[in-house]
Amino acid sequence: MFWRKRTSRKRSGADFSAELRSHLELEAERMRAEGMSEDEAYARARRTFGNVTRSEQRFYESRRALWLDQLAQDSRHAVRQFWHNKAFTLIVVATLALGIGVNTAIFTLVDAVMFNTLPVSRPDELYRLGAGDNCCMMTGYQAGQDFALFSYDLYKTLRDGTPEIASMAAFQPWLETQSIRRAGTAELAQPFMTEHVSSNYFELFGIRPAAGNFFSPSNELRGSAPVAVMSYRAWRSRYGSDPGVVGSNFLMAGKPFTVVGIAPPAFYGETLREDPPDFWFPVATHQLFDRAARFGFT
């Protein structure tokens, strides 16, 4: 009923124009019957009609006004109905909100994990060495699967004994939380995630530093000056992208090291995790900071 009423009100502009034409013809015919010439009759009909274009304009305007009017009516009706059924409205709004929210969250994750390629130069040439899918485990029940850890010495042997593999880098299978502060400033030490890696770690991924440099092979030698690469995220959020960070000294548990470079923006390390490293150190530094050294590698 409601729908019928509304559709019947709709009328095309072409239909309206046809009516105006029909009017002019009827009027002209009548003038001719009164004895006017063809041309005179039509001109006269137009004159008595007035402005045709303006009539058409007014038709369109009135139609638009009608449409807006109906829209306003419908909206008011909808709001009244919502107000009437508060519980129903609440459930609908909550359902939609949850649905949209969950979809957004899932898409964000899927987009990051599946659609965006790894921020490395040739991801198809990367392989992780180890038994099974369990990476980077140190403890815990592994449900019948082995987890592979390699000693640093074994890594070196494998790296040097496999010329067919272009490059092999090692990384620490777990992250450590360390208290670090910038030397020579009044700032308090803050907790940062750290990871120890072999000196060729960044070259393996084919990425370029956002600032400064990555490690050189000499950084892996025992007794070399301790250095670190800072993540782009830590550089931006903790140090306001201060270019002075590169080359400046920091203290980790009271021992000094130098930040030599900043990793590129999208690089969060070799493993997808919710707490990516803020600092990467060469393997040799680990001994300096007096920790037991065991490493997995890629």
Binding site: R9, F16, A18, E19, L20, S22, H23, E25, L26, E27, E29, R30, T48, F49, G50, N51, V52, R54, S55, R58, F59, S62, L66
Partner: protein, 132 residues
């Protein structure tokens, strides 16, 4: 309000200098009443309505034909008249308007209101004078 009257006066009752003495511009709202009244005698197309008003008023009222259509549109939207395409007596396509039941009721109300108003104004003005 005054400005609106002026505008409508201009569109509804355009007068040439020659006609000025004998022809009168329509008051606002009266066109709707006249259309409804014309349709009381049966269905009619726009041109027919315009002619009928002119003739029945003995050429005193001048309706600019173009002004008729927005009014018809308005009445149709109100549901007082309905429209359909048909063939005129001289075999031409035309859109014919018919008075609806609602429109008939509206016509009675409007006509009564108009008579009341005309009577009241007539009483105030008093008997005809020769003043120019």
């Amino acid at each position: 309000m005054l400005r609106r009257n002026d505008r409508r006066g201009h569109t509804l009752g355009k007068m040439s200098t020659r006609d000025k003495k004998s022809r009168v511009a329509l008051l606002q709202g009266t066109l709707d009443l006249l259309i409804l009244r014309t349709l009381r005698f049966g269905r009619q197309h726009g041109q027919g309505i315009a002619r009928a008003i002119q003739e029945q008023s003995e050429d005193v009222l001048l309706v600019e034909h173009g002004a008729l259509y927005p009014a018809l549109q308005r009445l149709e939207a109100q549901g007082w008249i309905t429209a359909e395409w048909g063939i005129s007596s001289n075999n031409r396509k035309a859109r014919f308007y018919t008075l609806s039941k609602q429109g008939r009721k509206q016509l009675v109300e409007e006509a009564n209101r108009w008579r009341t108003l005309a009577n009241a104004i007539g009483r105030i003005l008093g008997p005809e004078t020769q003043e120019s």
